[in-house]
Symmetry: C2
Subunit: 137 residues, 2 copies
């Protein structure tokens, strides 16, 4: 029996990106800045985040295809298919997005980040600090 | 109305760490190597991962307390409480663990990684590549 777990979004993305066709395929292709709008229920968890902080935002790509196991890298059909765990494709069994960003603005229960390759209304599920050299551990 | 999403584990951790008391608080305190045992259902998604690859493993800390919003950093009660989104505490609303590791061994549907600060039987929910300078985006 496989156990399952419930992800409860803590907020959502507010972005000018509305469709997957508009979204950059890789972060170096330039994603726009965006706002993260958080739920009142996580106010205390947010309280030490400030403008200038570099953070990791974890999103849930709610428009992804969770049955996809292999993809053509960067959508290039001339390239051989690759297992999705070797790619950053949003289409994957658990469509978690991982975004390393800098906070550039803040307001009540809201943070503005410098770039985010996620569509408008994408659920936000976690925020973690970037910890120097061990940033991703 | 808040939407929720279901995380379906893709595998589990096999580690000598059995209890939270045994687990290092920070990755620089030295976590042991571990195996990741994957489900048959994600075989194709794994196929391009190999020994030597640096990867990001996302786990679900199934023994965490999801109601925690603030913690004493490193468990030190003499330090002021900090919002969990500024910490790597496993206790947080969505208890996702993020681990940057190197693959050091492999077998059928199994990968050995060089260090992992997650308890035995912790569910694995995603694997992503580390992409050079933009590793975490």
């Amino acid at each position: 029996m496989t156990r399952q777990f419930v992800v409860r979004p803590i907020g959502r993305v507010e972005s000018v990106l509305r469709t997957r066709d508009e979204a950059p395929r890789q972060p170096d292709e330039g994603a726009p800045s965006a706002w993260l709008a958080f739920d009142e229920s996580v106010r205390d968890a947010l309280r030490d985040l400030a403008v200038g902080d570099e953070i990791l935002v974890i999103t849930w790509f709610d428009r992804a295809d969770r049955d996809v196991l292999t993809v053509h890298p960067r959508g290039d059909r001339t390239r051989p298919e690759t297992g999705v765990f070797s790619t950053r494709s949003p289409d994957r069994p658990n469509p978690l997005g991982l975004h390393r960003v800098t906070i550039i603005g803040s307001a009540d229960l809201r943070l503005q980040v410098d770039h985010l390759e996620a569509l408008d209304e994408t659920p936000v599920v976690d925020v973690k600090p970037v910890l120097g050299d061990i940033a991703e551990r």
